[in-house]
Symmetry: D2
């Protein structure tokens, strides 16, 4: 194993997602943090980067400076994570891909479907790795669900019921709080609120587990807090290209829910149930049989799940490990390319630019359907309507 | 307290619902079981009735014989429960109401909206009590939810997420089993399968708890087992007349679910969560506060909940008590009428012919919406479109 | 099926246990309530009995009057339930047994071991049925546990971890409340407080499930509220005569517990877990296998469990049904005797005078052991020290 | 923040605990891994260390070589973790402390009480930090429990019920497996099996949360698998020096348990409940109030808990973060010493040599009590019997 180098754009002091990426990338000691443009304020960004131990010449003031600096180095970064405001993802990701630097982009990958098509095409053309951080698919038992579906344990899939809800935006009296308000303001958040923020994670998870993608959908959006211009609660029905139906609920006004990312998968031969809040247990009910609890870390799991697990059963492993698995996949793929070798197929589980593109298209279709009173709407991006 | 007399039509030997009604009606020793026409086969029905202890002259061969027999008695029945095949509910219920005998009708009250309108009008005209057995609203903590909503603990309601799903019909190999097949055969079950069978309980519960009724709805029906002509899985979004949105999922192919009747209610001031499988606990999350567990049988409950509770906290009370509460309400109302007194308002919680009518209208609207690709459709019965 | 007749001593207006017995005995319509001496105050008892529908001549003023009245009738009672203060159980139970009337006695059966020996001997001698109400063993899944153990699913039993705790007596400020105080006052409650009140249910359940009985034990008693002369919290280790060890915790000061009667059974081939608060699910972990959820009402259960179940899976059945199963067993045994037939072996699951005797002996041994600093102490009654 | 340097003794390739320490120490980027003697086989240890990125001159063959090498460096290690077989802990820990290098020692700190007294004295004398890895106290909500107790939320503590059980050693057919057998072999494991291996974590947690220490205890040990010379299941009652009673159960034959480290704490004013398998929720029941769920990451937590938390509520944080908190405490204390400053009192939560000493004394006392039939036995180490 070689050590790889990693950098970050965004994720400055006080950001929530910054430390998560730094911990997740460091957890397996595969990546060394070597460069960053961490803050919209260049001086603050440089100072914070230095405090985190970066060399001064790689503590950049902004992403353009970083691109110029890194592109010129022999030891340019192996991977850069983009965790800036949504509207900037497209330009930054495209520029680094063009420079031959692998990218892990926070979601949403872009604002428009056209931009997303362009990123997907750029990744294909340049050969650089472009990943998108639908990191919840990194949990070992989520990967085990995917493996069970793929090897046919459930038979043909019929139905996926998935939700991702919380109540952090339920307080109308707090709706003008700037940390919350921007998400429901079209001038800042784009065309969708809660569905683009959380619901899309649930749709990606449904795709990841099922191996199927959204084909058409019907959406109902509401603004439970009436002053919001974008939805804070949505229900979306989806027909997948493999025949399954997805029923997806997402809400930010569900007092009592805490990032309740729950998924139930039903096929001809049985059903699965998993919840992010207790990620180390998976419930499996074979047709006409008893529900069994599958424990992370115990025997009999798929190679996908075993590879993604680090500690013994009975000890909760947690979300940081899930995110670290995305980095572990990327490390393996990047190292394999360096060596001119093929990576393990098990490392190809990270979400790519194509997943990013499909997600942007699904958000766009949901907005359109909801506006039209729930009319069933094409959900695939133009380039993937084969 | 006087003892009241009770009879049953249907619920013969081997039926599932028969013993439930006999236990529930007897549980509080308010009703004595005195007459019945228990089976489609007159001889079997009479024999079974006699074995259950009925006097031979009140062990009837069919409902018409029973109507004739009882109508002529001075001590005619105080209440008759109708638990026959769906298509016969209308005629039987109407006939007994016309004879001045109070009726508890199994759901669905009728097959068509017009019939349901007629039953509601008949009940109004004759003054006889007509109840419909949406018995799941009899749980003490369901009544407590209703009381909390009514007294404003949640503020204005925003959202109700409700489901009623099971996996008992998930086995395609068993789909021709006659106990299952008829539910998906329009010639026997009518216009709707799983939504009319289970989903409608969930919608009634949402109405009961919220004090609001369905105004318009958008439905998606699927037949997960393709040979079924009626839906075995449905998602329905509903706008209630009080402003709340209901998101309702029901399925009979959800392996791992066991009559999973779960409800979450979200308002301006907090959220509630309850599940039938563990009916003695209710989760309440006040806005910006911690989730609290409300235990049945402990202090601080509403009069509605206290009245509906029989045993100490920590001991599961169960569904039979929930159904017994419907009978207890009816006993109190019937006795009050006898006395010429007003019953306690707390006894007026049982579902009535109007609830039955609203339910039939919602089923009809869901079928129509699903056929039209999810178009938002009027859900109120003609007589209640004020 | 014939109808049997039933009477009650104690359980007057306002008592907690009275309605539970009346509901449980009536639930299956096997017993008709025909006689009672319901209150320490004869006039109140007669009035209440009449209000409950008893004939005036069988609404007795006290148990002696009732004994005299019933003993002289041709249609004397088939079964009488004794639910009076503990100190009176012995005399009443003995007298009715001597009169040839079957008895269901509330626990504790007697105050002293010598009295308990006498009741057991009286029952044997007279041939009357003497049951003791350790009613928690009536739950279908408790009976299924017993059946699994008996048929060898767990192999040789190693360990039973059982608890029965609540927090209803945790408030020191309320310790002088008469409803609570008497339980910790040796002049009223006898030699033991919480262990005799609740812990003994847990020990009986361990015996019921394992088919083994206490042989020696070591106890630790504390009075968490120091003013109490009897224990409000106890830990008892027991060696069973079949080789298993029981670890039993009981408490009345465990704020947050609600009659938490939980049992875990571990054998050579796997482990079981069940909790009274959610009685419709049983967890079974075969050795080296996954934990399975056994649902009450689903297929694959033992005949013992199926016989004890009345409603479909997914609907909580509750404690009243558990108690009703004790009555159902008694009805079957009493009817079989009438017929001169042998009852089903499945009906022989109710706790008998011998169970009552073993319980009194175990309480006595625990008190002795706790006083002696946890010394291991003989737990069997003199007559059963083989 | 300065970067500190860290080394490891033991934790070679294939060890379970090695990666846990490497991840936990790296998680917050406070420690750089710089030196190690990782394997009993010097060549394997050096090779593995090099693969992990250590400089060849700090990839040592054994701990003596490492001590010599590090003691002579200007940049000697800030902290060394000792994760070798139990019998070697004493000599290694003592030697590094004498050399002025801070130590985090895996548990048990030593084999005998005398050795433990010596380590505690050595730490005191040399001033080096000596921590012992009772790492389960690093969970944010465990620290919150401690804070709640310390600030009086529970009033005077009455009772702590704690367990740490698993079923990984339940298979008698596998009992000769060397990975399992040594734990029950006195020549390798010392005087205690399961209690020393797992139970002692539970006792430490009870001490940590309560702020009280074991004074006397009464133990019952059994070998459920009869061929074992040391116990595989134990129940220990403990009187704490602050007046609380602890009831502690530990087992390795409890099929269905997975490192079930559960604690319930009961005081005059309420009760707490926490389980390691779902570490992000804590149940709090105030006296006469409703049970509340305290979520990690939400508002209203103690500074201790907030400091120990890294990600948002609703995302499971897991055991690696708990262990990382021990390292974070140590980093803060070590850095403060370097600066000549006082560390935050919140950093003083890591378990020290005194905790290690108390634990060894409690193990010794339990063995003695169990042998003597549960006699209450002094549990304090000689030097702490004030």
């Amino acid at each position: 194993m070689t050590r790889l180098t990693w950098g970050m754009i965004g994720g400055g002091e006080g950001s929530q997602i910054g430390p998560v990426h730094r911990i997740a990338s460091a957890l397996d000691a595969r990546f060394d943090f070597r460069a960053g443009a961490l803050d919209a304020d260049p001086a603050k960004g440089r100072a914070f980067a230095t405090r985190l131990g970066l060399a001064p010449e790689r503590a950049y003031g902004d992403w353009k400076e970083m691109l110029a600096g890194e592109a010129g180095r022999k030891d340019k970064l192996d991977l850069v994570t983009v965790a800036t405001p949504n509207a900037t993802h497209y330009a930054i990701t495209k520029a680094f891909l063009e420079a031959g630097i692998n990218v892990l982009c926070e979601k949403p990958m872009t604002v428009t479907v056209a931009e997303a098509e362009d990123i997907a095409a750029t990744a294909r053309r340049t050969g650089a790795v472009c990943a998108v951080n639908y990191g919840y698919t990194g949990y070992p038992l989520v990967r085990h669900m995917r493996a069970m579906v793929a090897r046919g344990d459930l038979g043909k899939l019929r139905l996926i019921v998935v939700e991702f809800s919380h109540g952090f935006h339920a307080d109308a009296a707090d709706a003008d709080n700037p940390r919350m308000r921007w998400r429901y303001d079209p001038t800042q958040a784009g065309i969708s609120g809660q569905f683009a923020d959380c619901g899309i994670h649930a749709l990606h998870m449904a795709s990841f587990v099922s191996g199927q993608n959204a084909k058409t959908l019907s959406a109902d959006f509401i603004s439970a807090i009436a002053s919001r211009k974008l939805e804070d609660d949505a229900m979306v029905n989806v027909r997948m290209d493999g025949g399954a139906t997805v029923r997806l609920w997402t809400s930010s006004v569900a007092a009592g829910s805490f990032h309740g990312l729950n998924i139930r998968v039903f096929g001809e031969k049985g059903g699965l149930r998993w919840a992010q809040q207790w990620p180390d247990q998976l419930q499996w009910t074979p047709l006409n049989g008893r529900t069994e609890t599958i424990e992370r870390g115990m025997g009999g799991l798929s190679p996908d799940a075993e590879r993604a697990t680090r500690i013994a059963a009975g000890h909760s492993e947690g979300m940081l490990v899930a995110f670290a698995n995305i980095y572990a996949d990327l490390a393996e793929v990047i190292e394999a390319r360096r060596m001119g070798a093929a990576p393990s197929p098990l490392a190809l589980h990270f979400p790519t630019a194509v997943d990013g593109l499909r997600s942007i298209a699904a958000i766009s279709a949901s907005v359109e359907s909801a506006k039209a009173g729930g009319v069933w709407t094409e959900a695939r991006p133009p380039s993937l309507r084969a």
